[in-house]
Amino acid sequence: MTVEYQTRRGDIRAVNNVSFTLEEGEMLGLVGESGSGKSTLGLSIIRLVPHPGVIVSGHLRIDGTDILNLSEKEMRGIRGKKVAFIFQDPMTSLSPVKKIGAHFVELIRTHEPNISEKEALKRAKTTLNDVGILPERINDYPHQFSGGMRQRIMIALAIALSPDLIIADEPTTALDVIVQAKILDLLKSLRDTYGMALILITHDLSIVLERCDKILVMYGGSFVEYADNKELHGNPIHPYTRGLLRSIPNIELAEQKLEAIQGSPPDLLSPPEGCHFWPRCSFAKKQCRMERPTIVEFGPGHLVRCFKEAERF
C-alpha cells in the first residue's frame, strides 16, 4: 500500500509500500514517531484518507475482496459494519448537538434498515453496558460526559455492529494515564469476547508490547520491522526498533540510562536518498546512503528493512 499527499509543494509519500496481514482475532500494534504515517495508513484501510491524500497503489483485501475496487456505496457498507475506526480525540468525535442514542440509532439503522428505532436503542443500551457506561445515560448529550467516558462511547459505537476489524488511532493519547490503561484493557477484553481483529495505532511502544500479538514499526512512512510481540521484544533487528526499545523506562534496570534516538524524523517532501533512517543510524554505511534496503525475512514472520540484516546471512 502506498499513499501520497499531493500538495502544491510536491508529493508527500506518507505511506510507502507498507504491507501486513492480520488474522481474525489478532491484535496488531502499529508503532512509529509522530508523522510516520500511522494515521494515514489506518485511514486508508477504510478509504478515508483526507484530501489531498490519494492511495497511489496497493491492495487491501478483507476476506479476499479487494476493497480498493469497491464503489463508494459498497465502501459505505463496510465502514462501521465490517471495519470500525476509533479516533484520537474523544472530545471532538461526537456531534455536540446529537444525543448519544441518536448516534447509535443512526449507525445501526444505516446498516440494518429493517431494525426499528426502539430495537436499535435497546441494542445501544446493551453495548453501552458492555463498555461500562450506564445505559440510562443514552439520552444525554456528549458534553455531559468526560473524555474517558466519551472514548468508551466511541468504542461502544465501534463494536455496536460487531465488526471484523477495529482500527484504534491513538485512542488514549488525549486521556490521563489511569484512564488510558483502563480503555486499552477494555479494548483487549472486548477483543477477547467478540473475537474481532484490532489494529492499535500508537507512538508508545510500551503500550503495544504489553498488549499486542504482532507489532509493525514504521519510520518516515516506511515499513521498518514486523514481527510478533515476543520476537520483536527479544530479538529486534532494525537499529530504529532497538532505539525505541532502549527508550522505554524499565523498573528492573532502574540504573540504566534512557537513551533517546538522536536527530529528528525525515522531511517527507524530500526524504534522504537510500534508507530513510541513515542520518540517525549509528550503523549507517556507504551502501545505506546510496540505495534503499529491501524487506528481508529474518525469521518466520519476522520482516526487516535493513542492510545490516541481509549481510548476516
Binding site: 459505505r76 465502514r79 468525535s93 456531534s95 455536540p96 446529537k98 458534553h143 459505537l157
Partner: protein
Amino acid sequence: MKRKRVKFWLKGFLISLLVLLAGWVVYTYSAWYLMCRGVLHLTGLYTIDSLLDGSIVKFVEAARYLFLPSLTLGLMLSGVFIRLTRSNMLETLRLDFVTAARARGLKESSVVYGYALRNAFLPILTMMGLQFAMLLGGAILTETTFSWPGLGRYLVDRINFRDYTAIQGAVILFGILVAFVNLVVDILYAYLDPRIRF
C-alpha cells in the same frame, strides 16, 4: 455601502424585468389604491386583511404586489448568508465528528446535513437575528422605490412632515420587532444547541 449600491442596481434591473414580464407582477403608483378598494381595512396588512375578508383572490392579488419588493430585500441579504454558510460549512466539514460519521458508513447526505449543517447553523442563526434590523432598514428604501405603502415608507413620509409623534411610534415599533426577533433567535439557539441552557 456596497450592498446599498447592489440594491439600487437590483431595483432598476427588477423594474425593467417587470416591464418585460408585463403584468404578472404589478408595479404602479396607483395600483394599491385600486387594491384597497373594497378590502376590509383592519390591520393595514393587505395580505392579512384580504384573508380576514375571506377572499383568496384578493390575497393572491396582495401577494403579487409583495413579490418584487420581497425579492429585492431577500436577494440583498442573501449574500451575507451565502458567504457565512459557506465558510462555516467548510470549517465544520473539517471537524473530527464529521470524519467519524463518515467512518461509520453514514450516507454523505446525512453527514453533510445531519452533522455538518446542524452544527454550522448556530452562528448563522445569530446572524439572522442581527440582520433582521438590516432588513427593516432595507424595507424603508425598498418600499419607497416600489411605492408600497408599508411601515418603512410611512416612516419616511412622516419624517418629511416632521411628525414627531408618528416618527417615535414607528421607531419604537421597529425596536420592539428587532428585540422580539432576537429573543426568538436566542430561544431557538438553546433549543438547537444542547450545551446552551438558560
